[in-house]
Amino acid sequence: AAARRHTLRRARPRFRVRTMPLADDDGLISGLTEEQLITNEEMDGLVKEAIEQTVGTNAFMHTKVNQWTSNVVEGCLKRLAGLQKPFKYVCTCNFVQKAGAGMHTASTALWDGKVDGKHTVQWENQTIQCICTVYWLAI
């Protein structure tokens, strides 16, 4: 038999390709069908709508901020519950007055990468900056 030429192979593919998670043997991804999964685009629209409906073009008002944060988060959760998908949700909303201060937010999670995820929306107007994060974790 002819000897096999040894060639150097790259350990990783050259380009990163984003694909949908591979289904298990029974056609389900960690117990969920493909339609049941949540995408970032879905979340983006949902959250932006909630923020714009609550705050709109208002300026930062100390007295109103409490109300705004509650409304944004509850609006988000109501819309998420309306999706009727088998997930638990965590929604965080951060309102900051624009004053030239620096702020960093980091998050880590222990979850099932195939079905769980998070989406962050950064929204701003003249005086307010809003950072809203939604996490969805499969049941």
Binding site: C91, V96, A99, G102, A106, S107, A109, T133, A138
Partner: protein
């Protein structure tokens, strides 16, 4: 007449898990339910340890926030909540007299899921940390 018993499964066998029929974390035994007290302690200790005596540095703070989140997650994992999915969020910012409001709401099962949060500040930097524990069936 004694049975010999099945040989132990080895790596590479297709192992199927049987039902435990236990639906809540409490049924597994003591210490399986997400307890807020110990988690809160871990969170506040970690943040204090990392940020005490530091000042806000725009270049390093991004890294600090990421490291804090990772450290907190590892330590909470070591507390041993095996049936729980964890979400850790850390916000680090500079204090310049601006107003800030951070709120969170969750849609979950109140009997099994919980969260812990902590706020730390010194003269130039503030930090808000939140750990959420969600039961995975």
């Amino acid at each position: 007449m004694g049975d010999e018993g099945e040989p132990a499964p080895s790596v590479g066998d297709n192992v199927t898990f049987e039902n435990t029929y236990m639906q809540t974390p409490g049924e597994f035994g003591e210490g399986y339910k997400f307890m807020r007290g110990p988690v809160q302690k871990v969170l506040s200790d970690t943040i204090k340890e990392r940020l005490q005596g530091t000042t806000y540095d725009p270049l390093k703070s991004a890294q600090i926030a990421k490291e804090l989140a990772d450290t907190v997650k590892e330590r909470v994992k070591n507390l041993g909540y095996e049936r729980y999915k964890l979400v850790v969020q850390v916000t680090v910012g500079e204090k310049t007299g601006q107003a800030l409001r951070l709120a969170s709401r969750c849609l979950w099962d109140t009997a099994t899921d919980n969260f812990a949060s902590d706020f730390y500040e010194n003269s130039s930097v503030f930090c808000v940390g939140m750990v959420f524990g969600l039961y995975y069936e």
